[in-house]
Every structure is written in structure tokens, then in C-alpha cells.
Symmetry: C2
């Protein structure tokens, strides 16, 4: 059992938690909690740490921990003293299990080619970690082909983002690009129609044909899309708003667009 | 100018920030930031505090502060030293203006009677302050008649919730009730059809007629609706999910339901 706060592994995990650059360099990220452990594909799991406190105090008796037992045996794990675990953990009330998980890499070509009618979300300078995680989660639910982000968008491996994905981070393809405009043009070249969610949109978001290959551009929470990026869109769409609102939350706007596609494609099958 | 950390007003605001019971007793809540000040109806404003730091350092030169100037003159305000303001404030980088705002009270009868086809959200044991604020914001955008919450739902005057409403807290009618089941029956008695968002729903959420008076029941983030409350619903509906997701974020689910109503009613006008 690891007990020392000066243990190299404890220090390494604490560093991974704080330093996006180290996560990038090592090609890994952290997940916490038994659900995130259960959902992690085994081939992505690098290290698993279990808190001795939880282990002793019967965490293992909950239904989720029951499920975790076999997987822990298979994958192997190390126990860590409560104090050392707290140093590794991001949460105020740690759930007693923490994993180092290998990052996946996805290619735009693969995402586009994988399905007959691909369907993307393109994010520019999104800043809220919780919003990004929620967007990934909703994207999985709506059956998105992938999420494309510019390099100003918040780190998807931020612990808050990872938590908010509720496991979708293992399953939804995504990529960061320093050349967002190039990626947009590449999609358009493949016949994907690119819509910008924009306050000046003429068409309502639910009046377009999303049965064809589709992508949505969503901008920064406060400032929306840059003019240059919005300028590349094939069409502007807007979400109608009653009252005196200036905008909707970015994850909410994304959800409405994602499920507008889901709804149309489901209706087409009926 | 208020400079002392021991000043009664500074202490009072700090207490209001921390103590839901005190907010309830006094019938007020706090808002921060120039946007929340600008959106506050003047009749609801009780006290306005402006940080001397911001005042001196040209906060007044931003476009929003320019707009705030006239309202500040009209409503009156007190300046507070930076240190004292930090004690009053909830945020790590305070925006330099903080208001004590009078709570509004709404009656269910009024909400139901105000419109021909009322449309409600009913929340049971919602726990995340950000989710609740986002739901209010989205509710305003979709034109909801009101939000009904049981007494286990997180305090709507929680500073995080107030911030996430982006001003909707001033405009969307809401109420807490210790008798959620009575409120549901009262709505049903007035011809409102009550749908439960439920994983076991048979109908998809976008296949019902929301042009008639409508209410949606939404439950706790982790556990959903209690069986008793779900049992009162006229129908169960579900939001389809691809992938391996167990559920959507509560604010996202609420947004999809709210905008399903908005979309149908807008389409009916075309």
C-alpha cells in the first residue's frame, strides 16, 4: 500500500491533475469514481488506485463496487492510504478510486468516413469545462460522429470536463485542431453542410434539413463565434428566444441542435 | 465609503451569501456583476454596493458600466473598499458591483391563469445549483409559464444559481412547495397534462401534443423522479439516447422538453 505523500506515484498523479501540458506530454488523463472506472475500456486503463479507507469501510458492498470487483482483479490496482489518496484526488469527497487512462487519438478523415451521413459539432473557444463535458455527453446521446475543437477551447481532459462527460469521453470521437478553418473547409469539401449558430441567423434551427451530412459551429460562451469563422458557414441558424434573454447556455444550445438532428433522422425512419 | 471588515453591512451581506435561512427570513437575495445590476427591476433593488477599486480603475469606462451609470444615480449606492468588497463577494474575481434584491412571490393560481395554454416545469429534488439556474434561463427562452419546485430542490437564491440564470431569476415566475403532489393535482384539475420524463417512457418526448396546456416532471440528477411522484403523471415520455449513456444532464433534458413545446407552438402559428 502507498502511504507516503512523497511517493513518486502520488506526486505524479497530483501533477497530472494540475498540469494540462504534462497530460498532453504523457498522453494520459485522470478519471475518478467507480462509474468512470467501470466505463473505462480496459485497453485504455494504465493505472488504477483504490483508497484504503474506502476499501476497508465497505465501499465494496455497494452495487457499483460489486460490479467493479471483477474488473479490478483483471486489471490490477494499488491501494493508497486515505491521506495520500486525498492528495491525488480532485474532488472534496473522493469516491475512492482513481485511474490513469490513455488518451485516444482520432482523425477527421476517419470520423467523416465512418458513417453515411456524418454529423459534427465544431467548437470555437469554448471556455467552461462543465459545458464541454455536458456537450460530449449530449453528443453521445444524439449520436454525433465527432466533436471538433479549436486549440483555444478548454482542455477536454480537465478533471471537471471528464467528470461531466459521465463516460462519454471514452466513446465520442473528438479532436483539437490548430487549423479550424481548414477542418471546416475539409468537411465542406466532403459534402457536409456547415451551420453557424448565430443570433443573426435567419432560419430557425428546426427548419433545416439535417438528414444530409451536417455540422454545427458553436462559439465562445460570452462572445459567440469570431466573424472569420462564422463567415465560413454555409448558413446561419438561430434558436428562437422569448423574454429578454441575450443567449442560451452553450451546452443547452448545442443540445437543441444535436437533438434537432437526432429527431429528424429518427422521424425519417418511421 | 465603507472600509471596515467589521462594518455591519459588510457582515450582513457575507451572512446573506452563506445562509439560505437568513435570505429566506429577510426575503432578499444577492446578485453580483454589472449585468445582473442592469437587469434588476428597480423596484426589487434594496441596496447597491460598488467596489472602490473598480470605481477608481475605470470600470466605468466599459460599455456596460456606461449603461449602469444612470441607474446607479437613480437608485443610489454605497462604495466599499476592495478588501471589504471581497468579503461580501462570492466570486474569486469580483465584478465590483453587488446588490441586495427583494425576493418576489408568485402564486400557482396566477401562473396557471395568466395564459391560455400554460406550460410548466415541475422539479423534484434537483440538487445542482448550476443546473437549476440554467433551467430558469432556458425556461425564459422557451416561454415557460413558471417553474414549480419541491422543498428538497436546491435553493434558487444560491449565488451559483442566481449567476447561472443570467437575469432570468428576475423574470421567470417560480415557487417552492411542500406539497408537490397537491400542486400536480391542482394543475391536472385545471386541464394541464402532466408528463414525467422517465427512462421507461413509451412515447418519445417529441411525439406528444404540447399545444395544449402542458407540464413536465423532472427528477433528481442521480435518481430521477420518486416513484410516488412519477405515478401521478398522465403519461411517461423519454428522450431517445444513442450510445451507452444512462441519462442526460438534467438541464439538457429540461431544455429539450421546453423547446419541444416552443417548437410545436411556433409551428402551429405558421
Amino acid at each position: 500500500m502507498i502511504t507516503s505523500l512523497a511517493n513518486q506515484k502520488v506526486k505524479y498523479v497530483a501533477q497530472l491533475r494540475k498540469k494540462p501540458a504534462l497530460r498532453r506530454q504523457e498522453g494520459v488523463f485522470l478519471t475518478e469514481g467507480v462509474k468512470m472506472f467501470l466505463e473505462a475500456p480496459e485497453k485504455m486503463l494504465e493505472e488504477v488506485y483504490v483508497s484504503e479507507d474506502v476499501w476497508k469501510n465497505g465501499g465494496m458492498h455497494s452495487a457499483l463496487w460489486e460490479k467493479a470487483y471483477g474488473k479490478l482483479e483483471r486489471c490490477g490496482f494499488e491501494t493508497v492510504s486515505g491521506e495520500a489518496f486525498a492528495k491525488m484526488s480532485d474532488t472534496q469527497s473522493p469516491q475512492g478510486i482513481l485511474c490513469i487512462v490513455r488518451q485516444q487519438t482520432y482523425r477527421l478523415e476517419d470520423m467523416i468516413g465512418k458513417r453515411e451521413r456524418p454529423f459534427f459539432l465544431i467548437l470555437e473557444n469554448l471556455q467552461d469545462p462543465g459545458n464541454l463535458g455536458t456537450i460530449l455527453r449530449t453528443g453521445e446521446g444524439a449520436g454525433v460522429s465527432g466533436i471538433i475543437m479549436d486549440s483555444d477551447t478548454v482542455d477536454i481532459y480537465n478533471p471537471k470536463t471528464v467528470r461531466a462527460t459521465m463516460g462519454s469521453i471514452y466513446r465520442v470521437p473528438f479532436l483539437y485542431t490548430g487549423h479550424l478553418h481548414g477542418a471546416i473547409r475539409q468537411m465542406q469539401g466532403q459534402g457536409i453542410k456547415v451551420y453557424a449558430a448565430h443570433l443573426e441567423g435567419e432560419q430557425c434551427y428546426d427548419e433545416c434539413d439535417y438528414c444530409r451530412p451536417t455540422a454545427f459551429l458553436i462559439g465562445n460562451e460570452g462572445n459567440g463565434l469570431t466573424r472569420e469563422t462564422a463567415g465560413l458557414a454555409d448558413a446561419y441558424i438561430r434558436i428562437p428566444m422569448a423574454g429578454q434573454l441575450e443567449s442560451l447556455n452553450a451546452a443547452v444550445a448545442a443540445a437543441l441542435l444535436l437533438y434537432a438532428v437526432e429527431g429528424q433522422r429518427r422521424a425519417a425512419l418511421r
